[in-house]
Symmetry: C2
């Protein structure tokens, strides 16, 4: 199977998992459940959940548990963070994945609550779907809560916001933001996939280390695309960073250096992944595709 087909089959599995594991929109509060589904069904690359599945596959001769619920939980957290990030008091963005953002399609309060509910639901999925293996359930909850918490994802978003308000962010600050706002959830995706696969602790650590490099590369590419691509290609507003006077790898280091750093990080990630057991071909190709993407 070529990479595109292999990717598509995993994306389809994730989409089906999302549909199965989210409350039906017919159930009260139907407005809330409708908004949760609207946000989750907006498409997107499904990068993080596919990373969960792909990391689990490395250990597939004896997977410990089905990684799909963990993949959906990760996507719930990622989507909630986008919904809240798009709110008027944050980035105030009206377009996401080519569609109106949740607070535009519904309203601010509904988007706020749908985000809250998606975050909470991620933990309900983990505790519910892995109740037969409570040690795994507890470790997945710990992994996700840590990555999404105040020391990582939310801390990165807070510092990102402060950096927009106070110009002159240093390269160190920018690295802190990228490592926490973006890399944390990519690390957690790989580590959670490994845990579902029954990976030994050393492999979980190796997955996390590769995720860190991959996450950094991914966010630098995001900076590059914001500076070079157009809104129609991106499916979200392009040129936002420069307009906001926001420090990015492009503004701090220049386009060529940003491309080089992204390449170095992604090479480090891929080299790390290739040292893992099992067939690492798909995972390495996926990492490669993230740095070469055009949207």
């Amino acid at each position: 199977m070529d990479f595109a087909a292999a990717l598509q089959s995993r994306v389809s599995r994730v989409e089906a998992g999302i549909d199965r594991l989210l409350p039906p929109a017919s159930e009260p509060s139907s407005r809330l459940h409708g908004a949760m589904r609207y946000s989750m069904q907006a498409g997107g690359k499904r990068l993080r959940p596919v990373l969960v599945l792909a990391a689990c596959e490395l250990f597939e001769s004896a997977p410990r548990a089905d990684p799909l619920p963990a993949a959906v939980a990760v996507e719930c957290v990622h989507t909630y963070s986008l919904v809240h990030d798009d709110l008027p008091c944050m980035d105030d963005d009206s377009l996401r994945r080519g569609r109106p953002t949740a607070h535009v399609a519904y309203d601010e309060a509904t988007a706020l609550l749908a985000g809250d509910a998606l975050l909470t639901h991620a933990f309900a999925i983990l505790s519910g779907s892995y109740s037969g293996d409570s040690a795994l359930a507890a470790s997945l909850v710990a992994e996700l809560a840590e990555a999404a918490g105040s020391r990582r994802l939310i801390g990165g978003q807070m510092e990102d916001l402060l950096a927009e308000r106070i110009p002159g962010a240093t390269p160190e600050t920018l690295r802190f933001i990228h490592l926490n706002k973006t890399a944390a959830m990519i690390e957690a995706s790989l580590a959670m996939g490994g845990r579902c696969g029954g990976a030994p602790a050393a492999s979980v650590e190796a997955l996390r280390a590769s995720g860190r490099e991959l996450g950094l590369a991914f966010q630098i590419v995001d900076d590059i695309l914001d500076a070079t691509a157009d809104t129609a290609t991106l499916g979200k507003t392009a040129g936002k960073d420069a307009k906001a006077g926001k420090a990015t790898y492009v503004s701090l280091h220049g386009l060529d250096a940003a491309r080089r750093i992204a390449r170095e990080s992604s090479d480090a990630a891929i080299a790390g992944l290739r040292r893992l057991p099992g067939d690492t071909g798909f995972l390495a190709a996926l990492a490669e595709s993230l740095v070469n993407r055009t949207h």
Copy 2:
């Protein structure tokens, strides 16, 4: 020990637990951690965490685990829900527990993120503090995620918001809102305390059933106080419901009937609690104090 002293000793234990289990404000992002602590240290009755401790005490001859982390986790979720509920796009309230609300003391974006971080941290506390008993950890996560999720707490808040926009809420709608917006977390507090105490499944169910009645009584008393007390006594804006034209037990049933329904629910809760094993005196007195409170 009289009730007031017994209550105060448990509240002090909760305050110490909060201080110990929240990230220090000195740790980056310090603005975010400062806002989390500001919101959590605003005081309040600490009702829910004290219910966790009190329910655990019923089984104290052989407690399964220290209930304090579970108590703090519950308070994190309760506080996050208040922080988000106070935001301009929701209730737009500037006063809470006699102090400026988080988005007034900081700003909207910081309050949003601090709420997100508190919700996430609740699950980090549960998975971290009970890692030695992963079956307990997973059951506490499931209990809290269910109570705080789209079918209960957030669903109740969504319907509450819709009821404010569309006048003419039925008694059934109002009951749905109260049972989910308020009772769900009180049920979960008692059930989680019971689980930490090692309660058998039937006792956990009995705790949850009493929590349901207690939560209903508590919210009806809230409605009554909003209609009858003043802002200085409440420590939050009084008379909001009538001003907003919001359906409450007072507006739908009248003051006398609202008082009677609150009394009936609280009697049912107390009778249920008294049937539990152990010394139920403190828990019953606590339930009693909630219906007789003046703020």
